[in-house]
């Protein structure tokens, strides 16, 4: 059973960092209209670590992409840090992303022709700052994720775990408000996945970032402060989920 307009709003005193109101996403596929996200309401406070789970096609990546500003809603409002990003033009949205969002991908998505250092530096080139400041920020980010000794390595010369660390450094280097991760441990072995999740939690706590990840992995989701489940574009009540998970008890005659 799913709920419409489920209230996942927090009770914190200040306004939440992310406010989704009747957030809807539809797109055309041939003659059919697909609705991966349907009138979703959600509040995410600053400093939250939210894990989005659900089966394939449930809309969790769509929600993540909308929050990251790389996709645009078809209906409803998405207010982040007081800005309704659903009303921003394409170029304004790109500028907004460069300031407010760091994205960590499942397959790292590093630029293969740039070194680890240059990959981390890439988002900073969108900001006005001196080369010295830029260098310091890149150094700090790379030290935070533990790859300061891999400056001149190209992605092909790094392990999967190291590549993901570079990707995380790239995501945090601009000091964004929100860090989003789409299956950030999906391509890693268990040990590396655990290390990456430890790192992300630590960064989230130390730097006060709001972290939202999409995952299929319950172990990764267990790191989150909150886990939200989606199904057919809607959030599922925790109680409903618990009922589904409860073992069936045979009734006595």
């Amino acid at each position: 059973m799913t709920t419409n307009h489920t209230n996942h709003r927090t009770n914190s005193s200040g306004p939440p960092l992310i406010q989704c109101r009747r957030l809807t996403k539809t797109y055309k596929k041939g003659d059919n209209t697909i609705t991966p996200l349907q009138e979703l309401d959600l509040d995410v406070p600053t400093g939250d670590f939210l894990a989005l789970m659900g089966p394939s096609g449930s809309g969790k990546t769509t929600l993540l992409n909308l929050i990251a500003g790389i996709d645009r809603p078809s209906g409803g409002n998405l207010i982040i840090g007081g800005t309704d990003i659903s009303t921003l033009s394409r170029s304004k949205l790109a500028d907004w992303r460069s300031v407010n969002v760091g994205y960590v991908f499942q397959l790292y998505n590093l630029v293969p022709v740039l070194t680890a250092y240059e990959n981390v530096e890439l988002p900073l080139l969108l900001h006005s700052m001196s080369a010295k400041d830029r260098h310091e920020k890149v150094q700090t980010a790379m030290q935070l994720v533990g790859i300061a000794d891999r400056h001149d390595h190209y992605p092909r010369q790094l392990s999967g775990g190291q590549e993901q660390r570079v990707a995380i450094a790239r995501a945090i280097v601009t000091d964004p408000t929100i860090i989003v991760g789409d299956e950030p441990t999906g391509d890693l072995d268990q040990e590396s996945a655990q290390a990456i999740m430890d790192l992300m939690v630590q960064l989230c706590e130390d730097l006060g970032k709001t972290l939202i990840i999409v995952t299929h992995d319950a172990k990764s989701a267990a790191y989150a402060k909150r886990t939200l489940h989606l199904e057919k574009g809607r959030l599922i009540e925790a109680a409903v989920l618990a009922a589904r998970r409860a073992p069936l008890v045979p009734q006595e005659a």
Partner: protein
């Protein structure tokens, strides 16, 4: 708008050496073709333009203005002109009046000449024998022969003897131009001083060589006027070339073209038509206009073909990294910044090709002799042609990158991020 680092565009070139090679080589071929077409048109125009002397007037037979070869003038006319026309340049008592015969004749040199000589000897020895040898003798190449007197050296200022001496009348001697070997399709060594060329079935000795830089005259063979008239069995000359002293208002000396035109009108019995030498060669240049257009159209069509090839190559290059393009957008780079980087990448490749082509053009093609019906000229790859070639290279880069870049950036970011 913030741009992607230039290093990104440069290093992307190295991702696929084979694609890079195709882009550079394709651009080089197209630019080279543009250089050849430009050099051809330039060279032909300059050769025809430069051939006419600034103060020279050419007098031809009435009704033969289109071609000096068809023109006929009485042999005594040059004497009349020298005596009657005021303002003709004179030095040390010699008037700058050059009677000339212009005629295209087949000329054989080297192996072809030896074969003919040998076969003639065999025929004589065999006396009435088989004429198989003479039937198989190779045909010579048509060369512009100019029968001249020594005053020709005065009238045609661009001509200078570079080797040997002036031919003596009655001794079957000729002068050959610097580009005569090209027209004849033989090596330079075959027309060196001392060698023989076969004209009208008999050998003529090369006694000198001349140059006339940048003009079609360089492709001609000059020989004494009387000898050529005898060889061609003609009693008339083709034209008279005069050099005028520019009219000086203060002294009232000299003459201009109008004076010559007035003279020919007062002497209709001579049946002469005057034309400045520049006008004559200018008309010839117009005659070759369609050839120039064909050269440009051909180059243009091949450039368009090259452009389509470039589009294909660049699309393959960009399409292989659609996910990366999505990532750059997710970081915050605008599409225009990414398109600009792609244009940089493509333009770097085509500019490299253009530079290679220009180097080949300047060091290997510039001055390369090309035959045409008037003789020969050198490809003239000057700054304008080089500039055009480089611009073509750059345009290939920009135009070749835009459609593939726009197409590869068309998917939304989420779709691009899912690309394989």
């Amino acid at each position: 708008m913030r741009l992607l680092p230039f290093a990104y565009a440069v290093r992307n070139l190295g991702r696929s050496p084979s694609r890079l090679f195709l882009s550079v080589a394709g651009a080089a071929m197209v630019v080279l073709l543009i250089l050849v077409a430009g050099g051809f048109v330039n060279g032909m125009s300059r050769a025809l333009r430069a051939t006419g002397g600034e103060h020279n007037v050419i007098l031809m037979g009435a009704g033969s203005e289109e071609s000096v070869e068809r023109s006929e003038i009485e042999a005594g006319v040059p004497g009349v002109l020298a005596a009657s026309v005021a303002g003709v340049r004179t030095r040390a008592g010699v008037a700058y009046v050059s009677p000339e015969v212009h005629v295209m004749l087949p000329v054989r040199v080297g192996a072809a000449a030896r074969t003919t000589t040998q076969s003639s000897g065999e025929q004589a020895a065999a006396a009435q024998g088989s004429n198989t040898a003479s039937m198989s003798k190779p045909k010579g190449r048509q060369v512009m022969m100019r029968g001249v007197t020594p005053t020709a050296a005065l009238v045609h200022e661009s001509v200078s003897l570079t080797e040997g001496r002036w031919p003596v009348s009655g001794a079957d001697e000729v002068l050959v131009g610097r580009m005569a070997a090209t027209v004849l399709g033989v090596a330079e060594i075959d027309v060196q001083v001392g060698k023989a060329v076969m004209i009208d079935g008999r050998p003529w000795e090369v006694v000198g060589r001349f140059s006339a830089p940048g003009t079609v005259v360089e492709a001609e063979v000059w020989l004494p006027l009387a000898d050529l008239m005898t060889a061609t069995k003609r009693e008339t000359i083709s034209c008279v070339v005069l050099t005028l002293d520019p009219y000086n208002e203060e002294t009232g000396e000299g003459a201009d073209f109008g004076d010559i035109a007035a003279f020919t009108k007062t002497r209709p019995d001579l049946e002469l038509v005057p034309m400045t030498e520049r006008e004559y060669y200018g008309k010839l240049a117009n005659f070759f206009g369609p050839i120039k257009i064909v050269a440009w159209v051909t180059a243009g069509l091949i450039a368009v073909g090259g452009l389509f090839g470039g589009l294909n190559t660049m699309y393959a290059a960009f399409a292989s990294r659609i996910r990366e393009l999505g990532t750059l957008q997710s970081i915050g780079y605008r599409r225009l910044a990414i398109v600009w980087s792609m244009i940089q990448e493509s333009t770097l490749a085509t500019a490299a090709g253009g530079l290679i082509a220009c180097a080949v053009g300047v060091f290997m093609l510039d001055g390369l002799a090309v035959r045409f019906s008037m003789g020969a000229f050198g490809l003239m790859i000057d700054e304008t042609v080089i500039g055009l070639g480089l611009l073509t290279g750059l345009a290939l880069g920009v135009v070749g990158a835009l459609p593939p870049a726009i197409r590869c950036l068309k998917p939304t970011i989420p779709v691009a991020l899912k690309a394989v």
